[in-house]
C-alpha cells in the first residue's frame, strides 16, 4: 500500500497541533509522490476525533481499545508493530514530542526502520527520503539520507510546518485492536499538573525574557529593573529554571508556557526550538544576543547584537526616560 502514515497525537481528548502539522507535511508529499495519506488514530472512544480528521487525509485508520485510553509507548508499539506489518507504509510520521520521543526510537528499532528525529523538513525524490534536522542548538542544518528500507520513520519538530486549509474527504477504516493480554511492564498511572505559580506570564502584555546568557543570577535584578521600567513581566528560558534562578512558572517554551504577548524581548536566549515554539506567536520580538548567528534572530523582528550586560543598562536608562 506504501502510504504516508501520520500517527495522530492526542492527549486528554484533544488532538495536538503537531498532528495537523504532520498531516500538512504528509499532504504535500502525498501530492508529490502520489502515495495516499493516512492518519492513524489509536485511542479509546475516539470515534469523534476520527470524524474530525476525515477531511485531512485520504483515510483514517482507527483502532479503539480501552487499553489505549492513555498514551503508553509499550502498548502503542505493540499495536503499531502490527499495523506496519499489515499496512507496509512507505513513511511514518510521529511528532518529536514527549510522546514521540518515548515511542519512535523503540518502534523504529523493532521494525528495523531508518529513523531521522527532530526533522524540520522532509523531501522525497524517486522514493529516496531525505530529511533536514538541526544540530548544535539550531545553529546548523543537517541533511540526512535515509537508507532504503520497506518502511522509514521521521519525527517532526513541533511548529516547523505552517498549516493551511485543505480537504481530502477521506474515509474511516476501523481495525480491530490486536491487544489481547494486559501489558504490565510499563503502566501509566496518572497526570500531574504543574502547580500554579504566583505570576501568570501568559497574561502579560510585554515579556522581558532572560536566558542562560545572563551567566550569573546576580545579573537578574538588572533585567528585572528593565522589565519594571516597561511595566513588563519577567520570564525566562529553561536553563534559568533548571539552575533555580527563577521559578518554573516563569519558563517559556514547550515544557513551560506558551505565550503571545504584544512584545517579547529575549535577552541572552539562543533560540532552541523548544523555546521558540513557546513564543513565536508574539506580536513583536526583539532579541539581544552577542552571537549574530544565534537562531533566535531567525524569529525575531528586531535584533541587537552585543553584550547584554552593556545593552540592558543602556536600554533601561532610555526606557525609564521615555516612559517615565
Amino acid at each position: 500500500m506504501a502510504d504516508i502514515l501520520v500517527l495522530v497525537e492526542h492527549r486528554r481528548g484533544e488532538i495536538r497541533d503537531i498532528t495537523f502539522e504532520m498531516l500538512m507535511k504528509g499532504k504535500t508529499l502525498s501530492e508529490k509522490t502520489g502515495k495516499p495519506l493516512t492518519a492513524l488514530l489509536l485511542g479509546n472512544d475516539v470515534g469523534e476525533m476520527a470524524e474530525g480528521l476525515k477531511d485531512l487525509a485520504n483515510r483514517v485508520v482507527l483502532i479503539e481499545d480501552p487499553k489505549l485510553e492513555n498514551f503508553n509507548s509499550e502498548i502503542y508499539q505493540r499495536v503499531l508493530g502490527n499495523v506496519i506489518e499489515q499496512e507496509k507504509p512507505f513513511l511514518l510520521f510521529i511528532g518529536h514530542t514527549a510522546f514521540g520521543m518515548d515511542l519512535a526510537p523503540t518502534l523504529a528499532t523493532q521494525m528495523k526502520a531508518p529513523l531521522a528525529t527532530d526533522c524540520t523538513d522532509v523531501m522525497v525524490d524517486d522514493d529516496q527520503i531525505r530529511a533536514i534536522r538541526q544540530t548544535y542548538g539550531g545553529k546548523l542544518n543537517v541533511e540526512v539520507r535515509l537508507k532504503p528500507a520497506p518502511c522509514s520513520m521521521v519525527t517532526v519538530r513541533p511548529a516547523s510546518v505552517s498549516v493551511e486549509d485543505y480537504s481530502l474527504a477521506g474515509e474511516i477504516t476501523r481495525v480491530t485492536s490486536p491487544l489481547t493480554e494486559e501489558i504490565a511492564s510499563k503502566r501509566f498511572l496518572e497526570y500531574v499538573e504543574a502547580a500554579a505559580g504566583e505570576v501568570d506570564i501568559t497574561q502579560a502584555n510585554i515579556l522581558v525574557s532572560v536566558g542562560r546568557g545572563i551567566k550569573d543570577p546576580e545579573n537578574i535584578p538588572m533585567v528585572q529593573e528593565l522589565a519594571k521600567s516597561l511595566g513588563a513581566t519577567l520570564s525566562c528560558s529553561r536553563p534559568v529554571v533548571d539552575k533555580k534562578w527563577l521559578p518554573k512558572d516563569r519558563q517559556v517554551g514547550t515544557s513551560g508556557k506558551t505565550v503571545k504577548p504584544t512584545v517579547y524581548i529575549a535577552i541572552g536566549i539562543s533560540g532552541a526550538f523548544q523555546h521558540i515554539a513557546g513564543m513565536k506567536g508574539s506580536g513583536t520580538i526583539i532579541a539581544i544576543n552577542r552571537d549574530p548567528k544565534a537562531p533566535i534572530f531567525n524569529v525575531a523582528h528586531y535584533g541587537i547584537v552585543g553584550d547584554l550586560l552593556k545593552i540592558v543598562p543602556a536600554l533601561k536608562g532610555k526606557i525609564s526616560e521615555a516612559f517615565a
Binding site: 541533511e143 504543574a194 529554571v241 508556557k257
Partner: protein, 264 residues
C-alpha cells in the same frame, strides 16, 4: 542497585562562532571548549544520588577518542565507580541507532538494574539513543524523565515531562533505560583535587573487536541514516539588526516599543 550511565563529551557552541569543516558534513571542532553534555551531567548526578540511597555501583560509559577520558574522570570524581570508553576508527559516522548498538554491545555482558542517559545531546540532538538502547537490550524505558520517585521490588515510579508543564507518572519494570531531563537535580561540583584523586583509576577501553562487532555493523555502513551535508540555516526574513551607538540603539528600541508595544 547496579546503574550504568551513558555520557558524551560535546563542544559548547551556544556562544561560539561555528565553521563548517572541509568535509562539509560537520563543523570545525578545534578551538571549541568541550564539556560533558548538559543532560548527561544530570544523569550522572541522578545515578549517584540513587547509589547513595540504595547502595550498589555506578558505571559510566562513553564513546570517543582519548580526550573523553577527561569527561569519564569527571564522572568518576562525582562518585561513579567504573568507567569504560568505547573507541574505534570504525565508529566514525555512526547514527543514533548505531551509537545505541555499540553501547549495547558494551552493556550486554554487564549486570545492571538501571541505565541512564541524557534526553538528548547538545550537538546532534537525536533524542533517540536511550530508548533505542532499551529496545536492543530488550528492556523497558521511559524518555524525558524529570523525577524518579523510588525503586521497589524490581519496579520504579518515574515522572515523565510532557508539554506545557504537565507530567505523567509511570510505573516501570526493571531493568530499564531512563532518559534524564535537565533540572531533575542539582549536579554537584567536581573539584580538581577530586579529579586528581581518580587520575589513576583504570578506564577500560574497548574497540570493535572487544565488542564482537564487524566493521560493517558500525559507523556509516552500520547506520540507517547518513549525513549528506551541513549548512547554516537560511535566515529567512530574519531580524532587522539595530545598529549604531548604544544610545542610538536604545532610542530605536524606544521608538519600536512606542509603535508596537502598547507602552504608554
Amino acid at each position: 542497585m547496579e546503574i550504568i550511565v551513558c555520557i558524551k563529551r560535546v563542544p559548547e557552541t551556544a556562544d561560539a562562532d561555528i565553521v563548517i569543516d572541509r568535509t562539509g558534513r560537520d563543523i570545525e571542532k578545534g578551538g571549541l571548549v568541550f564539556d560533558i553534555n548538559e543532560w548527561d551531567n544530570y544523569a550522572v548526578e541522578e545515578a549517584i544520588l540513587l547509589k547513595e540511597k540504595y547502595g550498589g555501583s555506578v558505571t559510566v560509559i562513553s564513546m570517543g577518542p582519548e580526550e573523553v577520558n577527561e569527561t569519564l574522570r569527571r564522572a568518576l570524581a562525582m562518585g561513579a565507580d567504573q568507567a569504560i570508553r568505547l573507541t574505534d576508527p570504525a565508529f566514525e559516522g555512526s547514527d543514533g541507532y548505531t551509537i545505541a548498538r555499540v553501547l549495547s554491545q558494551a552493556i550486554k555482558p554487564l549486570s545492571y538494574d538501571l541505565i541512564l542517559t541524557g534526553v538528548q545531546t547538545e550537538d546532534d540532538g537525536y533524542g533517540q539513543v536511550g530508548p533505542t538502547l532499551a529496545e536492543i537490550l530488550g528492556i523497558r524505558h521511559a524518555a524525558v524523565v524529570n523525577q524518579i520517585e523510588g525503586i521497589e521490588s524490581g519496579r520504579t515510579r518515574v515522572h515523565r515531562e510532557l508539554e506545557g508543564g504537565l507530567e505523567e507518572i509511570l510505573d516501570l519494570e526493571l531493568p530499564a533505560v531512563l532518559t534524564i531531563q535537565t533540572g531533575i537535580n542539582e549536579p554537584r561540583y567536581v573539584s580538581i583535587m577530586g579529579i586528581r584523586k581518580v587520575a589513576k583509576k583504570e578506564i577500560k577501553v574497548l574497540g570493535l573487536r572487544e565488542l564482537a562487532m564487524k566493521p560493517e555493523e558500525a559507523g556509516e555502513p552500520g547506520s540507517l541514516t547518513v549525513v549528506e551535508m551541513v549548512s547554516f540555516p537560511p535566515v529567512g526574513e530574519g531580524a532587522q539588526i539595530l545598529e549604531g551607538t548604544m544610545d542610538e540603539i536604545s532610542d530605536k528600541v524606544v521608538t519600536i516599543l512606542k509603535e508596537k508595544g502598547g507602552v504608554a
